[in-house]
Amino acid sequence: MSERHGLARRTPIQAVERLLDIGPNTVHVGDDLIDVARRAFARPQTRILCVLDEEQRLIGLLPVLRIVEEVVARVAPEELMADITSLEAAGRFGREIAARTAADLMLPPRALRPDDTVGDAFAAMREERLSGLPVVDEESRVTGYVDLLELALQYLEELERTPSA
């Protein structure tokens, strides 16, 4: 992160990517969730895993928090049951404890294009309530990753450096 470039809401993602250190972490749709959890644990900075099909195309997203809850549900389900006070929470718990593979737990795919802007990235992540999003090419193959906190900190540093930016 030593290199400094102008960073504004209209800056394209392809120009920002090289400023970011956190890279994509990918798993396959049929991977066992415990293996997926180990992959997530090995690279804790990437908080959203990309789920790929056989042709390496992005078909889903897997927030690490969901994987954590699934693993906790296997070892201490009471801890999650204690938090269930709504129908929605009960349904989510049911889905998590029955999940066995990445496909069972993944969210629908959402990604940025290289020509999307920093503003688009902030908007997309806020809308989807995700802390990061992959960047994909025309064939939905993952080429990069944008972490919300890392991007926001970079943006903040840029603002502090050049208040008019």
């Binding site: 049951m81 929605e88 009960a90």
Partner: protein, 422 residues
């Protein structure tokens, strides 16, 4: 017939159609129908608002507050885990344990609380055994409607009937609980055959990992307070008749006590109240008042009286079966709201009201078992199943629902006949 009769009938029919077709949210449909009765001059606002039975609204509100606070403590899940531990790993015994817990909970709690109580443990067990949770969830729906029949607060139709007929909690339980218990026992015996295929198929070598029920208690102090308030509220319901209190007074007293003693944030607790349900009732009361006001209900009562020849036995049994079948097809809340004034009309013509009230209450509550859309418990559990990735289809439910409904109505017919008509 005057124009007002046609307008009221059309509004009533359109509102029912909107509720049944789900083209509009039922609360929106009922409120719109009710307020249009005023806007189109069938009722004036004072008449419409006076028709809203505040005893029903505040009884529901008070019980929702008590249940919302109590379910945060984890005590309901504690009970469910204890019951399942007693059942061991045998799928059949688990089904019975979950069904009995659901039936008891449904007699005292609202549907969402009951589902939050039994839903997670059901899904957990099914996942641990690597089997489908659907048979268990269907059995819980059926048990919920049977259990809800037992008390005044068990099912919305009962609340409506109890309030309209001035029947207190103790009298309601003394008349309804015996038949509900008999039906539940017979249902559990029949369930062995109903779910035979699924349960036999589910026998596996897997066992349910032992759950630690103490892990679900989030706030022991609040739990103790909630349990005391809940027991006190039920005791209050039992004493309400002799004390001359309405049920809503008891429920609001319980809710107010809980707020004061537990010091929970009222804004947070009230956010979880099912306001849409309360407004649905308000709209229905206004809508039905409109058709009463123009004389449609009196005419229907007269027609029913003529059709049964004024025979109390035929009327009571017909009311039981028609209510049972109709409530499986249409929402049992608007159905009951409409039938209450019709039954009152039969009373005006000299029929003994007691067997009619019980027939309506039993039929409307049990009728919910007919289809997956027959009662709010069905919809809530089906919603949970859908969210958890195990949708229960209309057709899949029908086989179990219709069998259980017919069995229940036969038992209920014998009960009403022996207890009230002989």
């Amino acid at each position: 017939m005057g124009l007002d009769v046609w307008i009221a009938a059309a509004l009533f029919a359109l509102t029912y159609a909107a509720i049944a077709s789900e083209r509009l949210h039922k609360t929106v449909a009922a409120l719109a129908g009710g307020v249009l009765m005023v806007a189109l001059g069938i009722l004036d606002q004072e008449e419409a608002f006076a028709a809203i039975d505040l005893n029903v609204i505040f009884l529901l509100l008070g019980m929702m507050v008590i249940a919302n606070v109590t379910r945060r403590t984890g005590v309901f899940q504690w009970v469910a885990i204890r019951a399942v531990r007693l059942a061991g790993a045998d799928p059949w015994r688990i089904l019975v344990a979950l069904s009995v817990i659901t039936a008891i909970a449904s007699a005292f709690l609202d549907n969402v609380t009951t589902v939050v109580l039994v839903g997670p443990i059901t899904l957990y067990i099914a996942a641990a055994l690597r089997v489908s949770p659907i048979p268990y969830l269907i059995s819980e729906i059926l048990a919920s409607n049977i259990g809800g029949t037992a008390t005044l607060i068990g099912d919305p139709p009962n609340i409506l009937i109890g309030s309209a007929a001035g029947i207190d909690f103790a009298t309601f339980a003394a008349n309804m609980a015996p038949v509900a218990v008999v039906i539940l026992v017979v249902y559990l015996v029949a369930a062995r055959f109903l779910f035979r295929g699924e349960i036999r198929h589910q026998r596996t070598n897997r066992s349910v990992p032992m759950l630690d029920e103490s892990g679900v208690i989030t706030d022991p102090r609040l739990m103790r307070i909630s349990i005391v308030v809940m027991i006190g509220t039920i005791a209050g319901f039992l004493a309400a008749g002799p004390l001359g209190w309405e049920s809503a007074t008891v429920a609001l007293l319980g809710a107010a006590t809980l707020f004061i003693v537990a010091r929970e944030d009222p804004a947070e607790v009230l956010r979880e109240v099912e306001w849409s349900t309360l407004l649905f009732f308000a709209g229905l009361f206004m809508l039905v008042e409109g058709v009463i006001h123009v004389g449609i209900i009196a005419a229907l009562g007269d027609g029913l009286f003529q059709a049964t020849g004024g025979d109390a036995s035929i009327t009571a049994i017909a009311l039981l079966w028609v209510s049972g079948i109709a409530s499986g097809i249409i929402d049992n809340i608007p159905y009951t709201a409409t039938l209450i004034p019709i039954v009152e009309q039969l009373g005006v013509r000299g029929l003994d009201l007691e067997p009619l009230w019980w027939s309506l209450a039993i039929g409307a509550s049990l009728g919910g078992n007919g289809t997956i859309i027959g009662a709010s418990a069905n919809v809530v559990i089906a919603n949970l199943a859908q969210r958890a990735g195990h949708p229960i289809t209309f057709v899949a439910f029908l086989r179990y629902g219709v069998s259980t409904l017919l069995l229940s109505l036969v038992i209920a017919t014998a009960y009403v006949w022996l207890r009230y008509l002989l």
